[in-house]
């Protein structure tokens, strides 16, 4: 059966090879560091393909996390996935990266009726999204301070960063999840399920959620005036 290659770099560099029929994870690699996507990603893919004698052009497709996540790392995964897709002539499917955390919540024993997942957006903010117990996205993704989150259980590393603000919002971090980051294995599984449901995943545009941050300098504004 053909396999999917799943890639997510919205947090750390993470790669998985997944059986397209059963969803079984055949192999995976996730960097312990959050700043080495450029160095590690290609090597992870090389090793995974070699270990499983997987020929790139025989993949069922590539599933890639489109973020949100810190931009520089996020782009590494996206440009790699698009390039693999171009060379191997296989489809590239974009999946919102916070879904990977939601999938992990669905695997726990007591899934709340509604819950929030959150990741590190830096600059004193988190990326977050709200789900129901079936993993359906109810709201998000957003970027905001933890103080603005819904009053629900919050999963993921984003819940560990600003506990006081979270408490202020009436939300609370779920203990077992406080070190969870998006991983390619769970992202890929979500992608396979969504494809089976007929969800359109053809858009691989990055979810930056913030403008490019550039301020028009005062002297340029003056010129325009």
């Amino acid at each position: 059966m053909p396999n999917y290659l799943s890639i997510d770099t919205s947090a750390h560099a993470s790669v998985a090879l997944i059986d397209s029929q059963t969803g079984a994870v055949l192999g995976e690699r996730t960097s312990p560091r959050g700043n080495d996507q450029t160095e590690t990603l290609a090597g992870f893919v090389r090793d995974l393909l070699a270990e499983h004698q997987q020929v790139g052009a025989e993949l069922a497709g590539i599933i890639v996390g489109v973020g949100p996540g810190p931009y520089t790392g996020l782009r590494v995964g996206l440009v790699a996935a698009r390039t693999f897709g171009f060379v191997w002539q296989v489809p590239v499917h974009g999946v919102m990266s916070l879904h990977a955390l939601a999938e992990r919540v669905l695997d726990t024993e007591h899934v709340p009726a509604e819950f929030v997942v959150a990741s590190d957006a830096r600059r004193k903010e988190v990326y977050w999204a709200k789900y129901d117990a079936s993993g359906e996205l109810l709201d998000g993704p957003h970027v905001a301070t933890a103080a603005t989150l819904p009053a629900l259980p919050v999963y993921g590393v984003g819940a560990s960063l600003y506990p006081e603000q979270l408490a202020e919002a009436g939300a609370h971090g779920v203990e077992e999840s406080l070190d969870w980051i998006a991983q390619a294995a769970e992202l890929g599984w979500r992608g396979i399920k969504d494809l089976a449901k007929g969800v359109d995943l053809s858009d691989t545009s990055p979810q930056y959620l913030r403008e490019s941050d550039a301020q028009v300098p005062a002297f340029m504004k003056k010129d325009k005036a």
């Binding site: 290609a42 893919v45 931009y71 782009r75 790699a80 698009r82 990055p206 010129d223």
Partner: protein, 360 residues
């Protein structure tokens, strides 16, 4: 046909605001496709790194497709891939390097992470140009101002001098802003200067005092180095002076005088460095190579010093993938070891590091 001496190499450039993909067979340029995000930076008056990086992501695959079509080659036919690993903007470099690694892995081709500045010099071998074994290079652009000594393109390049603050192109951009001339500043000031008097104002030539320059026998610390921050300040004071007096700013005269200060110091230092290092040929590179006054004065000073000046076509002077492919082809022909897939970008990669060694 590609042969060991004429390998077919694809080069990728993303160190600043141009996404460039070039394809070279030996010393023959087959394609040089450039997608620039320059228009998106205009309203900011300078390159915004995050905007450049976003544009590289969107441009990469379309630019690759276009270059392959233009060169009429397939990825299977390519012998090797070269990519700029530095110096440059970190976030921009990472998009090109990540893409290059994916391309190399997916095609099974060897990958070389190479030096952007040396690649600027590498275009000198293209299209039948014959360079002597040892020569000098002057690189002037928005990102760099350097004098190089090239003993071997593939394994011996030395930095003779460089700017210690702004690049020449940056000084142009900042001055153009002060004068309300828009971005990019180089062409804008060049144009405004045409109607101006270059002797109207005497602006400072950075690092020209004897204490910095020394003598040929006892060279000062900054003999071959540049500084443009004092010049920028002097222009700002000059503009303020006219504003405070309520007089119109003599844009043409200031442009011409500023340009003369930049070009005078660059050309005199470059020519002296050639003479003192026994170099008979000087190659000019970088986007500011399009500047008419720079070319004119450099040509005159090289001629009187008996130095042959080589100026590649403008499309090869600005950042492009062809230059990366050109240097890549030289490295492949010289038997250099590929860099592998595990190297990191180096935003301040020194010119002595022409090709990255594989990580063990």
């Amino acid at each position: 046909m590609s042969t060991p001496q004429h390998p077919l190499v694809l080069g990728i450039e993303s160190s600043c605001d141009e996404t460039g993909i070039g394809i070279v067979r030996g010393t023959q340029l087959l394609a040089n496709t450039v997608s620039s995000s320059m228009d998106e930076h205009v309203r900011f008056g300078g390159v915004i790194p995050e905007i450049a990086a976003r544009a590289h992501l969107e441009a990469f695959v379309p630019t690759l497709e276009q270059a392959l079509a233009e060169a009429d080659v397939t990825l299977e036919e390519i012998d090797a891939i070269a990519v700029t690993s530095g110096p440059g903007l970190a976030g921009a470099l990472m998009v090109g390097v990540a893409a290059a690694k994916a391309l190399a892995l997916a095609t099974g081709k060897p990958l070389y992470g190479i030096n952007h500045l040396v690649a600027h010099v590498g275009v000198g071998v293209l299209e039948g140009s014959v360079l002597p074994p040892t020569f000098g290079a002057l690189l002037v652009s928005g990102g760099h101002t350097e004098i190089l000594k090239v003993t071997s393109l593939t394994n011996d390049v030395q930095l003779l001098g460089a700017t210690i603050d702004d690049a020449a192109g940056e000084a142009y951009d900042k001055t153009a802003r002060l004068l309300g001339l828009g971005y990019p500043g180089g062409p804008a000031i060049d144009k405004a200067a045409k109607d101006g008097d270059k002797k109207a104002f005497r602006f400072p030539r950075g690092l020209s005092l004897p204490k910095f320059v020394g003598s040929a026998e006892e060279p000062g610390k900054h003999r071959n180095n540049f500084s443009f921050s004092g010049l920028k300040t002097a222009v700002a004071r000059c503009v303020e002076h006219f504003e405070a007096a309520g007089e119109p700013i003599p844009v043409a005269d200031i442009s011409a005088s500023f340009q003369e200060a930049v070009v005078d110091v660059i050309t005199s230092k470059a020519v002296r460095a050639m003479q003192e290092n026994g170099l008979k040929t000087l190659l000019l590179g970088g986007g500011v190579a399009a500047n008419t006054r720079l070319r004119e004065l450099l040509a005159a000073r090289c001629a009187s010093a008996g130095i042959t000046l080589v100026v590649p076509p403008f499309s090869l002077c600005t950042d492009n993938g062809g230059m990366v492919a050109a240097l890549g082809a030289q490295l492949v022909a010289a038997g250099a070891e590929p860099s592998g897939l595990d190297f990191a970008t180096d935003s301040s990669q020194p010119v002595t590091n022409i090709v990255l060694e594989p990580r063990s």
